[in-house]
Symmetry: C2
Subunit: 710 residues, 2 copies
């Protein structure tokens, strides 16, 4: 369990973590190469302006600073303690530090939860100590933090990065150092960096909340292997993404990845589908690869968001233009059609053989001036939303001059990204691009992927206000059913009770009733009208059909009577121990399209709604979509549209389409039901039979499982 669940949020506390006036290094060392030395050296060499207090009982001074045997010996208040002593001493020095009234602690030392139960128990003691004294804790088993704004390098990362707008949190210290190193090479500036380690107290949720409101942070980058509290994550991420782009690489997404993650951090990672749904909902830009994490960051940090998906390509050769146009189309974006005036203007400014449509080919001998002419036209063209500039090294090419000229002529009206393709010759240009504000990519394909990420973030950011419909329902009836079932421990709701629950939430169910005897069965059948379906109802039998517990299309009363006796006999013979509630007699359902709507409660993110077409579409083609509840109508319709089989709903080959709104409404009602009742663990309406527009869909069968009472 995570400590942050137990106590009130205090995001303001992270101020003392990132902006301390004084920092103690407990376990500071005189010996270069030891973490206790390197952390202190980073603080000293980084020109941190606050007080620095090395703590080590065996030494007088380190790096010219007076050293104290314990922190309480220092005698003045200290904001932040960085603990680098060996694992067995951590608790003792922390105890001393809280006595010295620290506000925040970073435990860099490893050997806690990640090494097994003994480590986990120690970690728990550390957390409890901190919590008791209102101390926020980063780590253990982490790299530390960096704040370029106050020149605070409270980490054992080798260098202090240049200042800028990117902030990073990471569950892997090595990913931190790799990103720092990449940022240095790319001349990208960082605001804050935090290595969260075992996340015993401070998690991604705290950091998202803090960085969302941190003025120095323009975009947030994260590397995660698991998420500690799913619902809080979604809330914090959505809030942060509303302010600034949040890009996350979630590793451990596959079975093999999970094994590796388990051996790494000893935590259970959530299912990838749920992460996808959570990121979608909260506006997180998901990076699928390490390259993508930085690729997207460059574009989002340096360029404005696009207003649409029409991409213009400027190139000095045809081949790369073709590659780029392929990439735009594959990314689901559009190759812009230039406004007529733009082509006319370009025709005047560019040589005779230059291509003045899209891609604009400024030709192999293009000097910077031609690139500028093309860039300016494109920036002024209202039919263009985003621009990709490609340069290949040819005889007359001047990569460095072109890079600087391009950067100087950006007008900030729409995103511009660049790919200077090649190696040694283009390097003088490439090395200047990012520093000058123009994102730089190895290949046109990667540049286009970054534009796509920007476009999707812009779509999310400009989405219409979310209005979750609240349907009038009979929640007291559902409350009663659920409470009774939980008390009796019959946690799987059979079809009859499941339908009753759904009916209370406005779902139409076929007419029918439970018959205890053959005579009653005939009466019910006559009431609902022939033909009827007959289904055994028993808490002990789930797969009714397999055991002969279902009869369809029963045409008359006599048949109902005969079948009643026969079914009861058959079940008694096959499952002698089964408790039988009776046989449910129900009107036969007419024709329609079979779909499945359902909910699975993710341990991290809560109710995850599912939609798919029935039968082979779900079973063979796995053609389903997910969305976290609560869901709006627009989101529900988007779920339907995201399946490959959506065309089946719209009708094809002259067949009429089904009532899409009715399915969306069903999803919204499930959303409301499972949000209202956290006791429902899973629910499948399969099939949900939908017909023509205006007709109510019918719940043909339903399975529902409740949580056990604790």
């Amino acid at each position: 369990m995570n400590a942050s669940e137990k106590k009130p949020k205090r995001p303001g506390d992270l101020e003392k973590l990132f902006g301390p006036a004084s920092v103690a290094v407990i376990g500071a060392s005189r010996h270069p190469g030891k973490v206790g030395h390197d952390v202190l050296a980073n603080l000293v060499h980084g020109d941190f302006g606050g007080r620095l207090i090395p703590v080590n009982p065996a030494t007088d001074t380190i790096l010219g600073l007076q050293c104290y045997p314990t922190l309480t010996d220092y005698g003045r208040e200290v904001d932040l303690a960085i603990i680098v002593v060996p694992q067995p001493s951590v608790l003792a020095v922390l105890d001393d530090a809280v006595k010295a009234r620290i506000k925040a602690a970073i435990v860099i030392t490893a050997g806690f939860r990640e090494i097994g139960s003994a480590g986990a128990a120690l970690e728990q003691q550390v957390v409890e100590l901190c919590t008791r004294h209102g101390v926020r804790l980063l780590g253990p088993n982490c790299l530390g933090i960096i704040n370029t704004g106050t020149r605070l390098n409270a980490s054992f990362a080798p260098h202090m990065p240049q200042a800028g707008g990117i902030s990073i949190f990471s569950q892997s210290g090595a990913i931190c150092t790799a990103m720092l190193d990449l940022a240095t090479k790319k001349h990208l500036g960082l605001a804050k960096l935090a290595s969260v380690g075992n996340k015993a107290d401070i998690t991604e949720v705290d950091l998202l909340t803090y960085l969302a409101h941190d003025d120095e942070t323009q975009i947030i980058l994260g590397y995660l292997e698991d998420i500690s509290t799913g619902d809080k994550f979604v809330k914090a991420a959505e809030e942060a993404a509303s302010n600034k782009p949040v890009i996350i690489l979630k590793a451990g997404t596959t079975a093999a990845g999970l094994r590796a993650a388990a051996s790494h951090t000893g935590v259970l990672a959530g299912a990838d589908t749920a992460y996808g749904a959570a990121f979608n909902k909260s506006g997180v830009v998901r990076a699928d690869t390490f390259d993508a994490l930085f690729d997207y960051a460059q574009a989002l940090a340096l360029q404005p968001l696009p207003k649409g998906d029409r991409v213009l390509i400027i190139t000095n050769a045809g081949g790369p233009g073709t590659i780029a146009a392929d990439a735009v189309e594959r990314a689901g974006m559009r190759v812009a059609t230039l406004a007529a005036g733009t082509s006319v203007l370009l025709r005047e400014q560019l040589p005779r053989f230059a291509a003045v449509d899209n891609p604009i080919d400024v030709l192999g001998d293009a000097a910077p001036e031609r690139y500028i002419a093309a860039l300016q036209s494109a920036q002024n063209d209202p039919e263009v939303d985003a621009i990709l500039v490609i340069l290949t090294p040819q005889v007359m090419t001047r990569p460095a001059a072109t890079a600087m000229a391009l950067a100087m002529h950006l007008d900030g009206s729409k995103p511009v990204v660049a790919s200077f393709m090649g190696g040694t010759d283009v390097m003088p240009g490439r090395s200047q691009l990012t520093g000058a504000g123009l994102p730089d990519y190895d290949s046109p394909e990667r540049a286009v992927a970054a534009l796509k990420a920007m476009y999707h973030y812009a779509l999310w950011k400009n989405r219409p206000p979310r209005m979750v419909t609240r349907f009038p329902v009979n929640s007291r009836r559902v409350e009663r059913i659920i409470t009774r079932r939980q008390r009796t421990g019959r946690l799987h709701l059979d079809e009859v009770k499941g339908k009753a629950v759904l009916n209370a939430y406005g779902f139409k169910i076929p007419k029918g009733a439970l018959a205890a005897g053959a005579e009653e069965a005939v009466e019910i059948a006559e009431r609902v009208g022939f033909p009827v379906a007959m289904k055994i109802v028993s808490p002990d039998i789930i797969n009714k059909s397999d055991l002969g517990g279902v009869q369809l299309n029963v045409g008359d009363g006599e048949m109902v009577e005969d079948l009643f006796e026969m079914m009861m006999l058959k079940i008694a013979r096959k499952v002698p121990a089964a408790r039988i509630d009776g046989i449910y007699i129900e009107q036969m359902i007419g024709k329609g399209l079979e779909v499945i709507i359902g909910m699975n409660r993710d341990p991290q993110f809560g109710p995850m709604l599912m939609f798919g077409l029935g039968g082979i579409f779900v079973e063979v083609m796995k053609d389903v979509t997910f969305h976290l509840a609560p869901i709006t109508e627009a989101e529900a319709i988007q779920m339907l549209k995201s399946t490959k089989s959506y065309a089946m709903l719209e009708g094809r080959r002259g067949k009429k389409g089904v009532d899409i709104g009715a399915i969306a409404s069903g999803l919204q009602r499930i959303s409301q039901l499972t949000t209202d009742f956290p006791q429902i663990l899973e629910l499948d309406i399969n099939p949900f039979i939908v017909g023509d527009i205006g007709s109510d869909p019918l719940v043909a069968d339903v399975h529902m499982t409740l949580a056990a009472l604790k």
Copy 2:
């Protein structure tokens, strides 16, 4: 039309292109920056050992070489002429050059087919002149060639690359220069490079054939926007790929890409599906992105092929190991399980907290020795097929020393690739990796993608011998039907004739016959047995069902009689002009699974076979696979397995599977039919009804279109 189609292949002729004893530059110039100067300067500065003859009527010497007014003025034999004069003079100087008995020509000058019909006409004259005199022509509109073996830089590419095993051909000069520049940066050596330009004579087919047998070429890289002659390409590529890896980036794959390609080279690009099928068949490793082209090349040029798909990861941090494991799984490969002995050995050699399963984590403070211990264990482990080494920059990390140590300890038994993640700090290591023989990647994901490409190439290379089954068939009957139809111009074969053709190739068709009148219809129906299907047969009606031209499940003779009259009346009323051959009376087909098998003749690559499940699977889910004919049984079965809906064929939920061998046999028979009869342009058996194992599938309906007689 392409000149190479008209004359016998002379691959040997390319010897004079790549290995000339003497080279003339026609249009040589004294002025740096002009192509005529730069090409000559490249030849001079590249230390080419043969004779160099500048040709320019206005100058005496250039770069210290004696200059001649025309090539015939030179008076000695010349192997290769490079033509850089303005477009209007090309034909005249080429005429002079052929008089001087040149063996090969490179026309660098642009302004031919790519500028329209006038240019195309001139290009045709150039080709004819060359062909008449047995001169092989590269270009026009190209960059030239490079042969590092003879230090021949007959191009205007800025630098002579270092010698090595990679040869490149490209339809884009800029892609050539970008790849050269990348190779320089990566310290990768090149053997030969050819920019093919407009491919007026020498095409990718000539180059594949030549490079396949060139001893200096270890792997072949290609950039293509179209393919000139599909069948020859497949043959040449397959031959080349059997000798050495062939990696191709095919651009212009999407609609937007195609538009760009058309405006670039003025040639029509083939459909992407057909290219995919052609590359698959011929063993070409397809690069989907520019990055992938070079990424794959590094691995295939420097490392041995893997024997399987079990990947071991060595890392100095957990996070990147997790990312890599994710990538391995997503690539469809396996995260290797180490042999027990390996873990025991590693436990002895590595520190206590190191992970000794997969990923092997040598920890953040790992010196080169730990990497070597892990590498050696992995190389010796029979459960490991390929190795990925990851390094992140941490405080104690020594990237350069680790790179060199790793490279020195490669034993060549299995492929090893590396990803040193980061920027500035890892650069001293990264810059040495490739040159030292260890492929170097920005990220673990890209390294894994390269391993995947290697693995798939290895699978192709080690595929069992291809045995195309030749079924006994009645081809004379098909010949007769086709010939008659082509003569009469009735190119769409109706169901009756289509079934006759298929029947002659061993397909089982339902019993039935064509009835001209109602009485005959009843007789036929009685013979084939009730119930029957009745289908109108008319050359003018394709969608029979839509016009009421089909009746199913007709139960008795009286009904057959009535329906015959009614259908004839209905059709006569709806399509008064239609010629009616009669009504086809056919036994009703029993139950089975509906699949589609078909063939579409690609203009480039010939008969392309298709397979998919019927109905929604094809129409809504587009779940189909393609393969070029002729096809083997194993390939046909692979086609079935490559569909997402394959589970439907195997049976599910207790339903029995269908006869997969019978479908494969149907595909093979279609393969044989459409290979035997190039006159068949397209063919769809839809549905092809397949049943239990051992039962013959039935052709329920067929459409077939023939080529018009020329």
